[in-house]
């Protein structure tokens, strides 16, 4: 694929650089440079809680202390994000598949309908879930009516007959908020698959499921990969779902960073936590790419 593109590309001399420079300058100035200052901050100390002064001192202890103190939140964040990603794949793949293969004329409308809920604010949607799942709300009411509460309690989804302030509520919220980010990439990669391939595969394997497994699924992997990244990464750093739908026992690393940064004013620790989070995510992404066999990230 790359070779084909190269043929149509021109060597433009200075032109490409001119086109690139405004955007890249912005990125460098407001993304890379801040990451640099954040890194410097992560190695500094803040002598007074109240005075906004930092002193740079190569303080590696910021990192080790942070890992030590907040390992519980780190682990919980990755577990929640992982669970949410898997759920998104479980729900999102069928949706994408059905739209791609059965959508016909309505493909774009259906896709639009997937995206439309996300034009309301993320906060409003989470608050709406808080409402729906509240102790005297419709969800609990319905489950009570169907006598399913006991089962959910046993499974650990509900706690003491309520749905909020549980692991499930936070994971559910995360799943909901990032579902379109899973559906859209999977749809894009499914759409690219030539229908004739699937027909041929069905004939070859004599079985719809095999055809899917051997042909469609591998071809859709780039979409699954992209969707997983777009889901897992923001989910791992989120704190809104934990705050509105969870309890102190469900707090995530995002809650810690937000508290450190915006309430305690403890910028060095917040910075160290941010870098630890990024490092773990980057490592995880590379491993995931290897496992899936997708090297072409873009």
């Amino acid at each position: 694929m790359a070779g084909e593109e190269d043929q149509t590309r021109r060597s433009g001399g200075a032109v490409p650089y001119a086109l690139l420079s405004p955007g890249m300058l912005w990125l460098i100035l407001f993304f890379l440079v801040p990451l640099g200052t954040l890194f410097k901050t992560s190695l500094s100390t803040k002598p007074s809680r109240f005075i906004p002064e930092l002193s740079f001192s190569w303080r590696i202890a910021n990192y080790t202390d942070a890992l030590d103190k907040y390992s519980e939140q780190f682990i919980r964040s990755f577990v929640y994000a992982g669970a949410a990603t898997l759920l998104c794949i479980a729900i999102g793949y069928p949706v994408a598949y059905v739209i791609a293969t059965r959508g016909g004329r309505f493909k774009n409308v259906l896709l639009g309908l997937v995206v439309v809920p996300f034009f309301t604010s993320f906060l409003i949607r989470t608050l709406a879930w808080q409402n729906v799942l509240s102790d005297n709300g419709p969800a609990v009411g319905l489950l009570d009516h169907l006598h399913l509460m006991g089962l959910l309690d046993a499974l650990g989804v509900a706690v003491d007959g309520r749905l909020l302030a549980t692991h499930a509520a936070v994971i559910g919220g995360l799943t909901y908020n990032f579902l379109p980010f899973m559906i859209l990439p999977i749809y894009v990669s499914l759409e690219k698959i030539d229908l004739r391939l699937t027909e041929a595969a069905k004939d070859l394997y004599n079985n719809g499921w095999q055809a899917f497994r051997r042909v469609v699924l591998p071809l859709s992997m780039p979409g699954v990969f992209a969707g997983s990244l777009l889901t897992f990464i923001p989910a791992a750093g989120d704190f809104i779902n934990a705050q509105f739908l969870g309890s102190p026992r469900n707090s995530m690393i995002g809650s810690v960073v937000q508290n450190r940064f915006l309430e305690q004013g403890d910028t060095p620790t917040a910075a160290a936590l941010s870098f630890i989070l990024m490092a773990i995510i980057t490592a995880g992404t590379l491993i995931y790419a290897k496992v899936l066999g997708t090297d072409d990230l873009i």
Partner: protein, 391 residues
């Protein structure tokens, strides 16, 4: 679909396509960045005004907590004083406000509003840091109406920097239809029967203070050591799931919706909430409750000092104070409010007799103010409490 150009002649100047795209790129880039840069340079609206004396402008900006004033006072004041009065309700968290404005305050720049009303302990911190301007008390004759118990308080020993906006009591707020009974003590908050339906405040001075009282310790002389058992008890309750959430003012919606059976709450909130929902009640625990004030100050860099004095004088007039208190349901810092309400309409008479607004001597004797802490002690408490709430 598009159609290809059909006229073959090349009549334009000798521009190559590359050069054109290149120029367009730079032009587009400049057009994109230019306005943004200009906007950044120019002063769009607020913040970075050079501070300066207070006088000739007719502007005044008071940023207060939400739902802390009735509907008429702002308009009445604007009319009477002729000032261009901006009243906003964006102040909803002491610590978050401090963290956001730290840099501006330290540089003595204006934070925007001329008056803010942080909670007493934040005021103490700001005064110690020197980030507050002295009030022009000469221009506020009505300051003499300040309730004696709040004169020269612990957080402002000279009384020169602050005037209370409203005081309040912290106790137990509960939803009787969920608890099934009246609650009387913090022991009820820790009652396993209500597990998972309990809320506590992120305002740890209130939460820890009440728990200390339950365990027989005195919050007005609290140290990290003396508060240890209370902190441990709260931590245990959080870990076991007894406490569902640590909230700010948003406990009200959980209480109203039944998510909370009971929580640590503030008297005025409940007197407002109870109007819509008679199941919601408030009780000062038998072992004692906490008392606090939200206090008006002029942050360093605030400009319209004289206009601020006009406002403060206005709200310290007992008539105006009565109107405000009648709506918000907290304890007025102004003498004479109770008499004015007692002489008013039936509704107002009921308020004058309300123990929430005007607690009797016996109740007052059970209220405590949390000890003033130095930076190290405060740090210690903050860190410990942050761990407890999972952050």
């Amino acid at each position: 679909m598009t159609t290809t150009e059909s006229t073959p002649t090349n009549s334009g100047p000798a521009l190559t396509r590359r050069a054109l795209l290149g120029r367009m790129g730079v032009l587009a880039g400049a057009t994109a960045i230019g306005p943004a840069l200009l906007a950044a340079c120019g002063s769009d609206d607020d913040s970075v005004d050079s501070g300066g004396g207070g006088g000739s402008s007719k502007a005044l900006w008071f940023e207060n907590w939400p739902a802390y004033i009735d509907e008429e006072t702002v308009a009445l004041f604007a009319k009477e004083s002729g000032l261009d009065f901006n009243y906003t309700e964006g102040f909803n968290d002491n610590a978050a406000w401090f963290a956001k404005n730290q840099r501006l305050l330290a540089d003595k720049k204006s934070v925007g509003p001329d008056i803010v009303a942080p909670t007493y302990w934040m005021v103490a911190r700001l005064i110690n840091l020197g980030w507050v301007q002295e009030l022009p008390l000469d221009a506020i004759p009505n300051a003499a109406n300040l309730v004696p118990s709040l004169q020269k308080p612990g957080w402002d020993p000279t009384g020169a920097f602050s005037l209370p906006w409203q005081s309040g009591m912290t106790g137990i707020a509960y939803n009787r239809s969920v608890t099934g009974r009246d609650l009387t003590s913090m022991a009820d908050i820790f009652d396993p029967e209500l597990k998972g339906k309990i809320g506590m405040l992120t305002e740890w001075r209130d939460t820890v203070g009440l728990t200390m009282l339950l365990l027989g310790a005195d919050p007005s002389t609290a140290t990290l050591a003396s508060a240890g058992p209370a902190l441990d008890k709260i931590e245990e309750a959080a870990k076991s799931g007894q406490i569902r959430q640590f909230t700010g003012n948003d406990y009200m919606d959980d209480l109203a919706s039944g998510n909370f059976a009971a929580c640590v709450g503030w008297s005025g909130d409940i007197s407002q909430l109870a109007l819509d929902n008679p199941d919601v009640r408030f009780a000062i625990p038998e072992e004692g409750g906490m008392q606090w004030s939200d206090t008006m100050i002029l942050p360093a860099g605030a400009e319209n000092v004289d206009n601020a004095a006009t406002w403060m004088n206005y709200v310290y007039d007992p008539e105006n104070a009565a109107r405000i208190t009648a709506y918000v349901g907290y304890n007025p810092p102004v003498v004479g409010v109770q008499e004015i309400l007692a002489a008013g309409s039936d509704e107002e008479k009921a308020l004058a007799e309300s123990p929430l607004l005007f607690p009797d001597e016996a109740t007052l004797a059970r209220l405590h103010v949390f000890a003033s802490l130095d930076e190290d002690a405060e740090s210690g408490f903050e860190e410990r409490f942050a761990t407890i709430i999972g952050a």
